[in-house]
Symmetry: C2
Subunit: 530 residues, 2 copies
């Protein structure tokens, strides 16, 4: 059974918050803004939206898998970013694709790319539509005669499983659940669970260097990629399956992070994990964020490789509806399919104790990942994408951004970013600001901090208010030495800062690669190379 996508909301029709959950969410915001009342702006029904007529017709040869159907064009206009929702609720669909393609195989993709190259029509790859950085919006300027959203979710098969090497050949349009359900019978799992897991596709995850389940070691999907097969306008580019290689620069690393600008990742051989049978998980409370960060630094440099070692500051825990409102929480977990993880957990807890951390409660049982604070966090994490429509409807500005920085610069960086963001929210909204922090991933040489900001906006100015805050926060983090994105990707929204951060010559090199692989420049224009 194929479920219809939610037209304005995360996931599928019928998903979303219950009425009670929504009331509680808004009550939380109200309390945060001193008892404020919110003017609700309703989501317009799809049929009321002003959708521009297609600029190009579906050619006869492609009509078997392309459609101009209204609902399809609406649901392929935006990703899941804050400004996407502002415009969805404003009924602004000026950048809708002219048609949506749903190819079933590489031949159909090749036909589409050939036609689009000849007609100067932009092709916007679309997997789960879960981009929060403007990566899937057909906003391609007047230089093109039209834009097609290329939905890859019909290429959703796990084609081949190699149990011995723990690897599988998977199509680029397979979603997280597609992949996990196909692997379950083999006792295997990809164990890559970004927040977008339910919708995100493998090709999209690879193209955007998605960040997943593991907080250390295998943070990005990059390291799980054994080989890739891509269809570019210039033809197929397929690398060998190899556990490791030293033969020239890695072909896969060129496609990893290419965000649809060089071609479509139609298949990849992915490295898998055994399903974990040994687990331990706990939450540790710290009085001071600095101490928690220091404990995490030591753990990250100790060769213990916890599956989870996420920091939540007091504000962040509170925003998610748990914690004591004053402690920094470190959620710590180990998992393994081969051996008990007690020795590992014991040493990590010892490090936390050395830095003043106190275990919340004894949770280190097999159910640990779904109970206690660790479990509460997991549940809240999965719910978060559903907060967006009610927040935007109520005129609340609530968004996140993420980065990474080396340990030596963390304290100064953190203070600069938090204060720039707080000041931006306060000045832009004229009201109070919440800025909170967590670490999503941790490396021996530094953390990947993730920031959330909340303020009360005005419906008539939400997009501009959001943009001003985003600009000031991004300027601050780039100036302080961070990366404009650790795992949300570049998209259209981050291009300005990405171009500052990226070595100028490397940008030119990517331009040369694009001219070779996508000579007509039709692949996701404006993203990565412009």
């Amino acid at each position: 059974m194929v479920r219809a996508l939610n037209y304005c909301g995360w996931g599928f029709e019928g998903d979303g918050l219950t009425s009670d959950e929504e009331t509680a969410l808004l009550a939380g915001y109200s309390k945060r803004f001193g008892g404020a009342q919110f003017a609700r702006k309703d989501i317009p029904p799809p049929e009321a939206v002003n959708l521009p007529a297609p600029r190009v017709d579906v050619p006869a040869a492609l009509s078997g898998f392309c459609t101009t159907e209204r609902f399809e064009r609406l649901t392929h206009t935006y990703g899941q970013s804050y400004p996407d929702y502002v415009r969805m609720i404003d009924g602004d669909y000026r950048n809708a694709p002219d048609f949506v393609a749903r190819p079933k195989n590489e031949d159909q993709i090749a036909e589409l790319l050939t036609w689009a190259g000849g007609q100067n029509v932009a092709v916007i790859p679309y997997g789960g539509g879960s981009s929060v950085v403007g990566g899937v919006e057909p906003d391609v300027s007047g230089a093109f005669n039209g834009a097609v959203s290329l939905d890859l979710t019909e290429l959703n098969q796990v084609v081949e499983v190699d149990r011995e090497s723990r690897a599988a050949r998977i199509q680029g349009g397979a979603t997280g659940p597609d992949i996990e359900s196909a692997l379950r019978g083999h006792g295997l799992t990809m164990r890559h669970f970004p927040q977008s897991f339910e919708m995100a596709t493998l090709g999209g995850m690879i193209a955007t260097r998605s960040g997943g389940h593991f907080a250390t070691l295998y943070t990005h999907i990059d390291d799980f990629v054994e080989s890739t097969r891509s269809l570019t306008p210039s033809g197929i580019m397929e690398s060998r399956r190899l556990p490791g290689s030293g033969a020239g620069p890695s072909p896969d690393r060129l496609m990893i992070g290419s965000e649809g600008a060089l071609g479509i990742i139609t298949e990849a051989w992915m490295r898998l994990q055994d399903r974990p049978t040994f687990r331990a998980s706990t939450a540790i409370l710290f009085d001071r964020l600095e101490d928690a960060a220091e404990a995490i630094r030591v753990i990250s440099q100790a060769g213990l490789y916890p599956s989870n070692v996420r920091l939540l500051d007091a504000e962040e825990a509170d925003l998610s509806g748990f914690g004591d409102g004053r402690s920094t929480i470190v959620v710590l977990a180990f998992e393994n399919a081969d051996h008990p993880v007690d020795a590992w957990m014991a040493r990590a807890m010892e490090v936390c104790a050395d830095h003043g951390g106190v275990p919340e409660s004894a949770e280190d049982d097999e159910a640990g990942h779904t109970s206690g604070t660790a479990g509460a966090w997991r549940t809240a994490f999965i719910k978060m994408p559903h907060f967006r429509p009610p927040a935007v409807s109520a005129g609340i500005i609530h968004d996140t951004f993420e980065t990474a920085i080396t340990w030596d610069r963390f304290a100064e960086f953190h203070s600069a970013v938090v204060s720039a963001t707080r000041q931006a929210v306060e000045e832009v909204t004229g009201g109070p600001a919440t800025v909170s922090t967590r670490f999503t991933h941790v490396y021996p040489d530094g953390p990947a901090p993730y920031y959330t900001f909340v303020g009360q906006g005005r419906h008539e100015a939400l997009a501009e208010q959001w943009l001003e805050i985003k600009k000031r926060a991004s300027d601050a983090l780039i100036k302080a030495g961070g990366t404009i994105t650790h795992h949300h990707a570049v998209g259209r929204d981050h291009m300005e800062w990405y171009e500052t951060q990226r070595p100028e010559l490397f940008g030119q090199a990517l331009g040369a690669v694009k001219a070779k692989l996508d000579p007509a420049g039709i692949m996701n224009p404006g993203v990565i190379v412009r």
Copy 2:
């Protein structure tokens, strides 16, 4: 004190085997070939070698750091490959560089590149000169007016150490010992010990994706690179120091493996380790290679991450002068600076026992890495580069090659490669062949097997005999799905198979990058892009 390079031999003047060691080595070969006697061909003294006159003069502006001195030109003609030694002993220096540059800073490198671009002179980057794949030989064909060997070893400083993030900014010409001695006082170590450690430079290691100390997890130097700074003919390309990033394709991964064809890696921020204080090491004997390989597969997939888990087949152990001549040996080691590694070692030994492995002796003490079979192996490993001159002098063909393959294909692959190589040695030499195997590195999805072949050649045909064996072995491993190199690099010797293995479109993309970064095409021509 600066020591002179060995003119025909590994390391510096005065290094090499003792007379007794050489006698023992040749006795070993003799036994292998049924008591054969070897006609010795002597290494010609440097002054007797026919060295072509330079085709280009050192321009006045570069004369402060460039020289046409005979000994410099001789020592910068070759790397350390088998055919390099054959030609050294033949006194064949037709590809000698016209002059050798030893810049002290980036400005001097930039001056050289500008001059070379204008004069159509090829520039061959030279670090430790430890290439075994023709990576440093100025064999540039008649398309150039000359060739300069660019020796980077004057850029040998550890410039900055960040103890907190465990990282250091290191110049590209720093050798393994330069790096380790500068880090020792900080309690840090790069812990990257390729067999070429003594001579190899950081820039060369990064440019060739060198494989180091750790048999699992951090196998290649790739993962230790935090950021790079490169000087290309088109200017400087420097990436940000970041513990992780998701902002577009990685700029560093383009330079990692570029083998001097895109520019010079003048500096890199490298991720470091604490100096290990807890160690355990042992050797396990298996009756069958298949069982040892299977134990290693299980260990590599168990999340234990041993620092060493190297397999030596019976022949390989015997060649290195230890073992019982019939057992496959697995050398197993753990090390850590934070906690004892007993739990890790216990579980790995349990896995070995499950597959029929028997510990050689109780070695799991702190001195384990320098005693017993593990220690004997380490000593032999360090000596190996010195075997080459006496072997070539005696007309012995003794060389190695290395690759990687997924576990599901290993058995078939191994059998195809061993039998093709053995047959090639037998047919080419008309005598007996030794073909042995070890695993140098291991991944969850497959091992990196390393093959050694030995046969008795004829002085007048050594180069051709070697090449025929090399071709047949390489053809077999590429046909069976491996990589032409796991960590020795591509150089000039592997280009044919690299081009087969590499996706054709990726080769075109690299060509486009080279045209942008090295528009005159002077950087290490013939390597990676041709």
